[in-house]
């Protein structure tokens, strides 16, 4: 007779509750047939029969909490009568036993073949998985590598042990629509374009003074209008920054028109309305167009025409406060994107070696390094800085 005991099924478990029995006294069972389901505070487990035989007696009651080592039920092994008379037979030898088996199997032939290839068994050992406890999902119930990987996965959270509350509290938001569009475009841009970002600081004191003066005369001009105007001039002088690379066709298209995309933050995410023919518009016209496009963007009323066809994009994050620099992602198929950061009063040293208070703004300028070299980028930002720092020159360049 064999006593089937509660053995340590891992996880440092010392006791378990009897959930229910799959067998009753008198039932015939095969080796590895499930006998009883037990539950610990971490898991439920089925205890398999160590041998083929007949269930003799159920010892532990359903619902009872029992300690490791307690006898759960008794089985009469089929082999017992047969083996008593021929204990010398090779197969009847007791298997090595160091308390790992579920029951005493003295002088009993038990079939404990593990249906897993040696490679799979090593995978289990190396990951601390008791392969005896794995149910194979492969052909002929063979234990596959995948079964071991699945077991590794399910045992991991138990080891980390975060009882009751999940480790991360979260709510789901859908990733579709505009968010998904932005995401796809960003990823695509970064995957294909080797970005290089160039930082510069620009003295905007004179520009600010000019805006103040105009304001006092009843005309408001946003900083954006100055930037767009200055950029239009730079882009005409450095046409490579107003271009598109078509790698497949092996051609770089230099755009004659200058359509500026204006990255705009909305409650649904980033949207980029396009200010068309920026180089051909007056300050006043630019001011009006900017305002209109921004309002439309915020109210989600932009037409398809108004959000496509840009040749260069700007992102003015200054009004949002905060950042001193960024690495903007280019809006393909454009060649560059310029971000304007918050303007701050800072002590600067002037031509006469005096420390003076100036209004300084940082810019971050990303460009497509496949078609633009660092030297060109420096020349471009130098020219842009010059036009902003000295608005008189900007006026000079107006056509």
């Amino acid at each position: 007779m064999i006593e089937v005991k509660l053995h340590d099924i891992g996880e440092g478990m010392t006791q378990a509750d009897i959930n229910h029995y799959f067998v009753k006294p008198g039932d015939r069972v095969k080796a590895d047939d499930p006998l009883v389901e037990v539950q610990t505070d971490k898991m439920t487990a089925e205890i398999p029969s160590p041998t083929a035989g007949t269930v003799k007696q159920i010892v532990a009651e359903i619902g009872a909490t029992i300690a490791v080592g307690t006898t759960i039920l008794l089985i009469d092994s089929e082999m017992e009568e047969l083996t008593e008379s021929k204990t010398k037979s090779r197969q009847d030898e007791k298997k090595p036993d160091a308390g790992l088996s579920t029951a005493k199997t003295e002088n009993t032939f038990t079939y404990k073949r593990i249906l897993a290839s040696p490679y799979t068994r090593k995978l289990a050992r190396d990951n601390g998985i008791q392969i005896e406890s794995i149910k194979g999902t492969g052909p002929s119930n063979r234990i596959m590598d995948e079964d071991i990987y699945a077991a590794i996965k399910t045992t991991m959270p138990v080891q980390e042990e975060k009882p009751q509350e999940p480790a991360v509290k979260s709510t789901s938001i859908s990733y579709k629509g505009i968010r998904k569009q932005i995401g796809r475009k960003m990823a695509e841009s970064l995957m294909t374009i080797p970005h290089c970002t160039h930082f510069e600081e620009i003295d905007v004191t004179e520009m600010a003074a000019m805006r103040e003066a105009l304001k006092s005369k009843g005309t408001s001009l946003s900083a954006n209008v100055f930037f767009i105007k200055a950029l239009s001039i730079c882009l005409q002088e450095f046409p490579i920054f107003n271009s598109s690379l078509n790698e497949k066709e092996e051609v770089i298209t230099l755009h004659e028109t200058i359509h500026i995309g204006m990255a705009t933050n909305t409650d649904e995410g980033l949207i980029v309305p396009v200010l068309r023919n920026a180089n051909k518009k007056s300050f006043k016209q630019l001011q009006e167009d900017c305002k209109k496009l921004t309002q439309k963007a915020l109210s989600h009323s932009l037409s398809l025409e108004e959000i496509k066809g840009s040749t260069f994009t700007i992102s003015n994050v200054g009004p949002l406060g905060g950042s001193i620099g960024a690495t903007p992602i280019i809006n393909p198929p454009e060649a560059g994107l310029m971000a304007f950061h918050k303007t701050k009063k800072r002590p600067m040293v002037n031509n006469r070696d005096e420390i003076v208070i100036r209004q300084m703004m940082n810019i971050s300028f990303s460009y497509d390094h496949r078609i633009i070299d660092g030297g060109s980028a420096v020349a471009f930002t130098n020219r842009f800085a010059e036009l902003i720092e000295e608005p008189a020159i900007l006026l000079m360049e107006l056509s």
Binding site: S85, L100, P139
Partner: protein
């Protein structure tokens, strides 16, 4: 005995230089451990010095002798065949000594320190080694016990008329009549070998069977009869009288009988060498016969001490000890390892040899609901006709529900070599189609395996249709009929 005051520090100590011990030593050294091996007698253990190698040397001689009988069909004529046992002993001793030197060289090449002496545990991490008048104490981080077994001295063995299964191979004359007692592989090998070398052999066993698959056993018994090896079953030896001859008194089915022979060979009970090792003193758990309880990695109940081979519970076998030695060495070196003897081939070097892998048909029927089996006689193979060695069968056992191969048994030429294919099949969880699909060299004994698998589906080419019929049966009732038929 002078007790040394200096305790020497060692990383890994292995007690015993038999196949288990020296394999463990070399593997641990390969894995970067400083290894010390303690051997009291000769490297190679029982396997090399008394067991496997001498008995297989004799078995090989018997096989060579048998082959001479087939020479004439190839036109080779030998007029006078003589056999000089002294030459055999000389060659055997030279072989043992060469193999021993080889083991020593391997150990030293791997940086293993070899200490001569008798070891015993003083505490859980200290071993004393006695060698003549010198005595040393070692403190170890890990130890592997591979000390093997010794024989029960109460058993009457005089090595003149009465031998055990080791000393019989040091006999100086071929027995004119030999009584072999027992049904173990050692008994079957001794019976087969000495019959071939000229002895009149009688095999006496306690029960009726030899512990093999039914079909294999049937074929073996047929071959024993053919070779005029008498088989006495259900017999128990009562008394042994020796003088000019050996007279053995026994009971057969309750009736007193006797037999007079020139020599007797039998197997004294093996006693684990645990008592003199002092393992009980350190609280090591042993079974009721004194063998060490271990888990599948070789761990004993005492921390950092492993045990392998014959001194542990279970079957006594060199392949087992070798594998366990490697497993223990890997565990010591931080590699997750394990020993599983489910597919350990069991080999008997009789003429012809026997190999057995996995479950016998009888065991399979206790394990699975629907079992299919096939037997293929090797006489059906071209290669058998060619070599004139037509004896033997291949027996295959499958779990019919899963088409899973669960047992491969063979008696016949090539059985030992072919057993690796069977082990591979079982380790890789092969099903019948896996072994039916693959290619087999022609002509070769390998084809017997293919025929056997084809016979499972009634499709063996070189087997009469009516002999395959039973293999097609599926229902349990029909299977039982087949069982009767087959046995």
């Amino acid at each position: 005995m002078v007790v040394g005051e200096i305790i020497e520090e060692r990383e890994v100590i292995i007690i015993g230089g038999g196949p288990g011990g020296y394999n463990a030593a070399i593997r641990a050294a390969q894995l970067g451990k400083q290894v010390t091996l303690i051997e009291k007698k000769g490297l190679g253990g029982v396997c090399l010095n008394e067991g496997c190698i001498p008995s297989k040397f004799f078995a090989e001689a018997a096989k060579k002798r048998m082959e001479i009988d087939h020479f004439k069909q190839f036109g080779i004529k030998i007029d006078q065949v003589s056999f000089d046992l002294t030459v055999l002993h000389k060659e055997l001793n030279e072989t043992i000594s060469a193999l021993q030197k080889g083991i020593k060289k391997l150990l030293l090449d791997n940086g293993v320190e070899i200490v001569q002496g008798t070891a015993f545990f003083m505490t859980e991490n200290r071993i004393g080694v006695e060698n003549g008048h010198t005595f040393s104490v070692y403190r170890f981080q890990r130890a592997v016990i591979a000390a093997g077994c010794k024989k029960n001295r109460k058993t009457k063995v005089d090595h003149k008329r009465i031998f055990d299964f080791e000393s019989i191979y040091s006999i100086q004359e071929i027995p004119s009549s030999l009584l072999v007692a027992g049904s173990s592989y050692l008994a079957l090998e001794a019976a087969s070998t000495f019959q071939q070398l000229g002895s009149d052999v009688t095999l006496i066993i306690e029960g009726t069977d030899l512990g093999l698959d039914g079909s294999i056993e049937k074929e073996l018994k047929r071959l024993l009869k053919k070779r005029k090896i008498k088989l006495i079953t259900n017999a128990r030896i009562k008394e042994i009288h020796t003088a000019q001859s050996a007279v053995i008194y026994y009971t057969k089915s309750g009736e007193d009988k006797s037999i007079e022979v020139s020599h007797l060979v039998y197997g004294p009970a093996l006693i684990p060498a645990t008592a003199e090792l002092g393992v009980e003193r350190i609280g090591m758990k042993l079974d009721q016969n004194g063998f060490i309880n271990i888990d599948q990695t070789g761990k004993t109940s005492v921390k950092d001490i492993y045990a392998i081979g014959d001194i542990t519970c279970g079957i006594k076998n060199a392949s087992k000890a070798i594998k366990q030695g490697k497993v223990a060495a890997e565990m010591i070196s931080g590699i997750a390892s394990e020993y599983d003897e489910s597919n350990l081939p069991s080999i008997i070097h009789t003429i012809p040899p026997i190999s057995s892998v996995g479950l016998t048909e009888e065991q399979a029927r206790q394990t699975f609901e629907r079992v299919k089996s096939s037997t293929f006689p090797l006489s059906g193979l071209g290669v058998s006709a060619m070599s004139s060695q037509k004896e033997g069968i291949i027996k295959l056992v499958i779990d019919a529900d899963q088409e899973l191969i669960v047992g491969v048994h063979m008696i016949g030429q090539g059985a030992v070599e072919l057993s690796s294919a069977a082990v591979l099949a079982l380790e890789m969880i092969a099903r019948t189609e896996d072994l039916t699909f693959m290619h087999y060299p022609h002509p070769s004994i390998n084809e017997g395996l293919l025929e056997g698998f084809e016979a499972l589906a009634g499709k063996a080419i070189h087997l009469a249709a009516n002999k395959q019929q039973h293999n097609k049966t599926e229902s349990p009732s029909q299977l039982q009929q087949h069982e009767q038929y087959n046995l």
